[in-house]
Amino acid sequence: METALSVLVALFFAAAVYLLLSRSVIRMLLGMVVLGNGVNLLIFTLGRISGSTPPIVPWNASAPLEGAANPLPQALILTAIVIGFALFAFMLVLAYRAYKALGTDDTGAMRVAEPEQSPRPPLSY
């Protein structure tokens, strides 16, 4: 099970890197989403697939039963999902605003902050 999930994570990462290498902002955004999901799956796998018993501590005991699922990765993934969603929403609006303002979604053509014909450094002194 862990091996299969590892291969899946690798596929997610490969697809994400391919998309992120694009110049189109929307493709890069999709790459971010795929990458985020790949990371979530990675956290899940690294928490070990230990069992399907709910991690609830029985009455009068101080530890969960043997073979209980690991709850910590789920808490981590939940946090990461929320953060990833917020960042994606922001970047999506930003991409739209940048497209409207700059007239392009090609990151190579966005040269307002760093002009293409960069002036030569000041030469005196």
Binding site: V39, I43, L76, I83, M110, S124, Y125
Partner: protein
């Protein structure tokens, strides 16, 4: 000090029996104040007149609590508390040693000075769109990153910082800001995602995320796998800190937002990345740090040499200052690469200098941009005749960043050089010296072009600049006032550096021998 639950209480043994001492809550007060202040200001977003005063008041309270925290850490050693009644390592721990406390205090002081400057640039729209709440959220994220003792919690503070910085970066919505935000956004999200991947590997290898617990757990983990996680951490924090190969986003974005935002970004955000690297390779996985030391040293040396070259070539004033920020990062990384007492103490002191000086440089650059109405150093000129006070402040800053006496960076560079000589690391020593020479060339050229020369570049540069105007009453009161706060701090710390250097030495000693830090975190756990 709280203790584990007694046997007759109806609590599992992993819970704390008594409430955490009120004094120990001091560790979370800066973060809680910033978060509560940001929430309050969002609720009061209609009361525009109130926002600036409340934000400054909250920041001042944070600075005071950071001051008490630092005093306590220096007197008693590291302070820690664990949330939610759990005993460590189960609960989320906040733990601070001298390094974190010094950085947190400097952060709040820089924020206070920038809050004084900010009203110059804010129109009604920006005030109602949440400038002050976002500044407090940014302060919350930065303080949280300096004070936390949990690796995943550190990731959360990085994201808090990132989201607040997005809002501040695009505030105003000019095309240059949107362009900058695309570059800044993608590269920083990618870096924090890599941070998350590395955190996941660390958790998979050790089964814990508490930094004090990781120190013992990583000693037993297989080294090759740990080094893989460590290398990912270097990539992630290297990009966040704007160290050499991963710093393309900084010169592309830091000159785009408002000057107050530039100042806060330049002073604080990169330092958090460097702090995380120091914390990680000194505390969390020292064994991987030893293996990866050549990589850190190479990154530090390349950053030290390339950054001032960028500053010499830049024709945009705030872009040039951005390259000085990168150079400062290289200097702190050099201290980490040396990894001995003197080197780490020098890095801690240099970080304080860098935070104060970079904020002051950005504020001074902002005032020059207002006077000359341009961002291009070739079209500036003649500022000296119009505002001798601003010119004097800038030449002092030029001396301060170049490391001339009697400024703080000189003392920290002496510590770093002592560390380099005693470690026998001549390449790092040479890089530090070369960086100092290149930085003084770049910084004094800026002074000569912008302040000393009377007019524009080219033919007739001796004719007075026709576009320049003097600072108006409000600008000289608010702008120069904010600058004066930072200048007084820089001068005072440069003339009387003993206390800060002693704090830096304590920080370095605690980094090299983390037993006091681990002891503070696990103080509440009953020893078998």
């Amino acid at each position: 000090m709280a203790t584990a639950a007694p046997a007759d209480m109806d609590l599992p043994p992993h819970f704390i029996g008594a409430m955490t001492d009120a004094a120990d809550w001091l560790v979370v007060v800066p973060v809680a104040l910033a978060l509560a202040g940001a929430g309050l200001l969002v609720m009061l977003r209609g009361r525009v007149g109130l926002q600036a005063w409340l934000a400054a008041l909250v920041t001042f309270a944070i600075a005071v609590s950071n001051g008490f925290l630092l005093a306590r850490v220096l007197a008693e050693g590291p302070v820690a508390m664990t949330m939610g009644r759990w005993l460590p390592p189960f609960g989320i721990t906040f733990a601070v040693d001298a390094l974190g406390a010094v950085f947190a205090l400097t952060t709040s002081l820089v924020m206070l000075a920038v809050m004084i400057y900010a009203p110059l640039e804010l129109d009604f729209r920006k005030r109602t769109f949440g400038f002050y709440p976002l500044m407090l959220l940014l302060l919350c994220g930065v303080s949280g990153a300096f004070l936390t003792g949990d690796l995943f919690n550190l990731y959360v503070w990085f994201e808090v910082m990132l989201i607040a910085s997005f809002g501040l970066l695009v505030m105003g919505g000019a095309p240059i800001q949107l362009d900058a935000a695309i570059k800044y956004g993608f590269l920083n999200i990618l870096a924090t995602t890599i941070f998350l991947i590395a955190t996941a590997y660390t958790y998979g290898l050790t089964g814990t995320l508490n930094m004090a617990d990781l120190l013992t757990a990583t000693a037993e983990a297989p080294l090759p796998a740990l080094v893989t996680a460590g290398a990912l951490f270097i990539v992630a924090f290297g990009v966040k800190a704007a160290a050499f190969p991963g710093n393309a986003w900084l010169p592309a974005s830091y000159h785009a937002p408002m000057v107050a935002v530039s100042a806060v970004f330049g002073a604080l955000l990169t330092k958090v990345g460097v702090y995380a690297l120091i914390r990680l390779f000194m505390h969390v996985m020292p064994s991987a740090g030893d293996v990866l030391n050549p990589a850190i040293a190479a990154v530090a040396v390349l950053t030290l040499i390339t950054a001032p070259l960028g500053a010499i070539a830049a024709t945009n004033l705030r872009r040039a200052v951005g390259f000085f920020v990168i150079g400062g990062v290289g200097m702190i990384l050099a201290g980490l690469a040396l990894g001995n007492q003197q080197g780490l103490a020098g890095a801690a002191v240099y970080a304080v200098h860098s935070m104060l000086a970079m904020a002051a440089l950005y504020l001074a650059a902002g005032l020059v941009e207002r006077m000359t109405g341009t961002t291009d150093t070739r079209r500036m000129g003649g500022v000296y005749a119009q505002s001798p006070l601003l010119s004097a402040a800038f030449i002092l800053l030029v001396f301060a960043v170049s490391g001339l006496p009697p400024f703080l960076s000189l003392w920290s560079k002496i510590l770093l050089l002592q560390g380099g000589v005693s470690a026998g690391d001549w390449i790092v020593v040479a890089a530090i010296l070369l960086n100092a020479i290149l930085t003084i060339i770049a910084a004094s050229r800026l002074w000569a072009h912008v302040f000393w020369r009377s007019g524009h570049e080219g033919e007739g540069s001796e004719r007075p600049n026709p576009d320049i105007r003097p600072l108006d009453r409000n600008e000289s009161r608010v702008g120069l006032g904010a600058l004066a706060v930072l200048m007084v701090l820089i001068m005072a710390l440069g003339l009387f550096p003993d206390a800060l250097i002693a704090a830096g030495q304590t920080a370095a000693a605690d980094l090299l021998d983390p037993q006091r830090y681990v002891g503070a975190v696990f103080a509440e756990v009953p020893q078998p």
